[in-house]
């Protein structure tokens, strides 16, 4: 009997999936900003007056937002069914929604500030 079948802890992994994506976004933005500034990616010009590093960071941010949107869609579909009890399904959805808001919030400064100053 596998541990996941035994106690259904997969429901617990789903519970934290949204915030795992938030964590990944946070670490990726901070890490890529540091590496990008070291490699001077901000000096490469992009379209509409942007620069290479901002574009890269924005792409990573949008990718994470897309994953979160997908997680929310899946959670909405499972809202009235699935293996996990209703309580867990409800707070999973709540956590995914708040993780989406949190990811939006931490990435917004990308659009407002130059990356390496």
């Amino acid at each position: 009997m596998s541990p996941s079948r035994f106690g259904r802890p997969r429901a617990l992994v789903s519970l934290i999936a949204g915030y795992l994506v938030w964590s990944s976004c946070f670490v990726a933005l901070y890490g890529l900003l540091s590496v990008g500034c070291t490699l001077q990616l901000q000096l490469r010009a992009g379209p509409f007056g942007t620069n290479g590093l901002t574009l890269l960071l924005a792409a990573v941010w949008l990718l994470h937002l897309a994953v979160l949107a997908w997680l929310i869609r899946s959670a909405l579909r499972r809202r009235t069914g699935g293996e996990a009890p209703a309580f867990l399904r409800r707070i999973t959805l709540l956590l995914h929604l708040s993780a989406l808001a949190a990811t939006l919030w931490i990435g917004l400064p990308l659009l407002l500030l130059p990356p390496c100053s």
Binding site: G7, S23, A84, I106
Partner: protein, 839 residues
């Protein structure tokens, strides 16, 4: 074990049987205790002792700063005093006392007879005590740490702190952190698995949710500081330059590693305290908690968000503005889940009919003080304001509002609340109330003033200041307030002491609570529950006021109490359905002996006696192996009658036994350690000034090939040994265990060859030093993987393993899955990254 013994006929017979199994022996045998009530109370009492020590140090600080140009303490003594005040309060009081409360209460609230790994908690306690004694010894001998509780480099490096003061901190605190990680694993597995029947996740007391998230935060949050401490100790002891700028190091690496731990630490302290608040408020509001699901979601969100704040302690070190804004944004975000909890508490109070009893008074103190601390926290999250008040007394005031408000007031409320459970007597409302008002008023006098002192520009950590700067009057008021608060704490301790002897007898459920711990006799018996109740709501005692009688009478589960059985229930994680029976350990010397040898390792390292230190480590390893040998059975056991017509498997035949979960969470901690190490490697590479290094790794191509071969052999061997066990093929099992053992040795040798043959001198550059640490980490894991394979081999020969009882090879496979993956990652970091990143 005689499982066939007939069930006890009377409650008294049941009590005698269970108590004989669970009680702690007298005399020297007390050192063998593994009972969670004893170990939990030891943590609490020791923590309160260190709180007194930290409090006396605080009084020395306030006596010194009461007037300008004070000659009470010299600067050297003052540096030791304020460093030890912070260190003692954070590492020796705050976390251990909350751990103690959790270890004592969780089984009683969850309906278990003990924790998942009672002996591990006992080991953790001894580590905490011995580590604390190292720090206290340093203070008494005048060689206490003196570089501030966060030990910033280069001040704490060998050049500026040549004595052993900094080593005392690094060794003592790391020893205590071993204890914290043990408690983290213990609490997480206990909450997930060791509950009573019917206690699904949505019926768990909120306190358990808080502790679950806290425990996982400890597991993830402490390893970065353990790594930082090891690196700094290696630099101080062997001159490996991780933080020396001239040789490729960077002091900022220390700050990152420290605050990667340090900020989550604030929430590691706050969440259990908030758990106390969420437990007490519905009881005294006479209304079930409003927003249970919202609170659970808030706890989980806080657990994550609190890891995105660490750089807000480093706003002034010269990080790009955009990065500062990431952390500033996250710092503001974390206020939202905390705010949700506050609204839930207020809503519950408004919906109910609150009664102001003594614990509620302390909760009132929490609500006021913590909100103020939270608000100054939001101020400090704003970068421009942070720059203005950085390193001033404003920050000292803020952190005390957060920690005293967020920890001390709820803790005192909790101690008053659960005191009748521990002693069977009620506290004095009058003495306790007087203590509260002295603490509350004294605290606000001391620290409200300190905001102003800070805004007027007084820096923290100065032992003297000139008069006429506008600081004198405010400092004097702060000192008066500090001493008033101290009198309040003395009254609190006096109340604890007096009530346990003179207090009136507590009724069975003195506060009218609905959680399971109040169904127990007061003080609770060593085994907690005569039989484990089946619960059907979050407040089972309100559903069934006669629960105590039913438990004593052996109704419901595991009331059979076979002599020597020491049984408790493990449940399915989510549903709370009974899954199997756990057999808890008897009192044993092994945790104490293992902690003594671990202490020999740490203490001898501190004193520079490296051979003796290595001997201590080997003896500790031998003790752990002996400990591992003591588990398991030599024959396949039958299903056990558990009551209510249930027959459950014993843990010996269960694949997801608590041991599997324990190793899983230990590896999560281990993985965080490695992630922090890889972060350090990349951080130095991209940020430290003296990079790239003059020479990179120059290894014979055979070295990485042999390492990869060994890692793959370990992975494959672990997998195949398990498969052979499952299909009852002992010869194949033996063969694959040998393959695993030899592969581990081969990979360990290949990794050790890197620093010996392929790197420049490790003192020459941070690149060589950090690469050596990476190689050492991989070698250690492979070597341990070989030792575990050898142990499993011997246990197979001794009859501990069968197709049914396959936990040993299962754990071996899990170990090698982690070590093999981590080893391959390290192999790439050592041998491929230089080629990819070097100019």
């Amino acid at each position: 074990m005689t499982q066939e013994a007939p069930p006890p006929r009377t409650p008294v017979e049941r009590h005698r049987r269970l108590d004989a199994d669970f009680r702690t022996p007298g005399g020297l045998g007390r050192l063998t205790s593994v009972n969670h009530s004893i170990v939990g109370l030891r943590f609490i009492v020791t923590g309160l002792f260190f709180f007194l020590v930290g409090g006396v140090l605080a009084m020395l600080i306030r006596a010194q700063l009461a007037t300008s140009d004070s000659a009470f303490l010299g600067h050297e003594a003052y540096n030791q005093v304020f460093t030890m005040h912070g260190t003692v309060m954070m590492f020796l009081f705050a976390i251990p006392v909350l751990e103690g409360l959790a270890l004592y209460l969780l089984p009683k609230m969850l309906g278990g007879r003990d924790l998942a790994f009672p002996a591990l908690s006992a080991f953790g306690y001894w580590c905490y005590l011995f580590g604390g004694l190292i720090l206290l010894g340093g203070l008494l001998l005048g060689v206490a740490p003196d570089g501030g509780w966060f030990m910033y480099t280069p001040l704490s490096g060998a050049h500026y702190t040549p004595g052993i003061n900094a080593d005392v901190w690094l060794i003592g605190v790391t020893f205590v952190e071993v204890s914290a990680v043990c408690a983290g694993v213990e609490i997480a597995v206990t909450v997930l698995r060791i509950r009573t029947a019917g206690m699904s996740l949505d019926r768990m007391p909120l306190f358990a949710w808080y502790l679950l998230v806290t425990a996982l935060m400890i597991v993830v949050g402490f390893p970065p500081l353990i790594l930082g401490s090891i690196l700094l100790e290696l630099e101080r002891a062997f001159d490996w330059p991780f933080f020396d700028v001239e040789r490729g190091g960077d002091p900022l690496l220390w700050q990152h590693l420290f605050w990667l731990f340090g900020h989550p630490e604030v929430y590691i302290i706050f969440l259990p305290a908030a758990g106390i608040v969420s437990t007490l408020i519905p009881v005294f509001a006479r209304h079930p908690m409003i927003g249970y699901g919202w609170i659970v979601a808030s706890i989980v969100a806080t657990g994550f968000l609190s890891f995105g704040l660490w750089v807000h302690h480093m706003f002034t070190v010269g990080i790009p503005h955009l990065a500062l804004v990431f952390f500033s944004a996250a710092s503001m975000l974390v206020a939202i889940p905390t705010g949700i909890q506050f609204f839930a508490w207020i809503a519950t109070l408004m919906a109910g009919r609150p009664v102001i009893r003594l614990p509620m008074l302390y909760l009132f103190g929490f609500l006021v003080v913590f909100v103020l601390g939270g608000l100054t926290g939001v101020m400090l999250a704003l970068v421009p304001f942070n720059w203005q008040v950085h390193d001033t007394h404003f920050v000292v005031a803020h952190l005390h509002y957060v920690l005293v408000g967020g920890l001390v007031f709820p803790l005192l409320a909790g101690l008053y609340y659960w005191m009748p459970l521990v002693t069977g007597r009620m506290p004095s409302e009058r003495l306790g109330g007087l203590a509260f008002w002295l603490i509350f008023l004294g605290f606000n006098l001391a620290f409200l003033m300190m905001h102003l002192t800070g805004l007027k520009g007084m820096p923290r950590r100065v032992y003297a200041y000139d008069g006429g700067l506008g600081w004198d009057g405010l400092n004097l008021l702060s000192s008066v307030g500090g001493f008033v608060m101290a009198i309040g704490f003395v009254l609190f301790l006096l109340d604890i002491f007096l009530h346990s002897r003179l207090g009136r007898r507590a009724p069975r459920d003195p506060w009218g609570a609905g959680t399971l711990e109040w169904s127990l006799p007061k003080p609770p018996p060593s085994y907690n529950f005569g039989s484990l109740p089946r619960v059907e709501s979050r407040e089972p005692l309100h559903d069934r006021p006669d629960l105590a009688r039913a438990q004593a009478a052996g109704e419901s589960l595991l009331g059979g109490a076979p002599p020597g059985g020491r049984e408790t229930l493990a449940v399915e994680v989510v549903s709370g359905r009974p899954a199997h029976v756990v057999n808890l350990p008897a009192p044993t010397w092994l945790p104490f002996v293992a902690a003594v040898f671990t202490g020999v390792f740490f203490l001898c390292f501190l004193l520079g006696l490296y051979l003796l230190s290595a001997a201590g480590a080997l003896l500790a390893l031998a003790t752990f192996l002996r400990w591992a040998w003591s588990h398991g059975r030599r024959s396949d056991p039958p299903l056990l009658p558990a009551g209510e017509g249930l027959a459950l498997p014993p843990q010996a035949v269960v694949r997801s036994a608590p041991g599997w979960w324990g190793l899983l969470f230990t590896l999560v901690a281990d993985g965080t350690f490695l992630a922090a190490l890889l972060f350090g490697y990349l951080f130095l590479w991209t940020v430290a000034p003296a990079w790239p290094p003059p020479v990179f790794v120059e290894a014979d191509p055979a070295i990485p090939l042999l390492a990869a071969l060994g890692l793959l052999g370990g992975l494959l061997g672990g997998q195949r040994a398990l498969a052979a066990t499952e299909r009852s093929a002992p010869k194949a099992r033996t063969l694959w265990l040998f393959v695993t053992l030899l592969s581990g040795l081969l990979a360990a040798g290949a990794f050790l060859a890197v620093p010996v043959t392929a790197l420049p001198p490790l003192q020459s550059h941070a690149y060589a030093a950090v690469t050596a640490v990476l190689a050492g980490y991989a070698a250690f894991h492979c070597l341990l993987g070989a030792v575990i394979a050898g142990l499993v081999l011997l246990r197979c020969r001794a009859g501990f393993v069968s197709a049914q009882r396959c936990l040993d090879p299962l754990l071996l496979r899990l170990w090698w899955r982690y070590s093999g993956g981590a080893g391959l990652l390290i192999l790439a970091a050592i041998h491929l990254l230089p080629g990819a990143l070097a100019p």
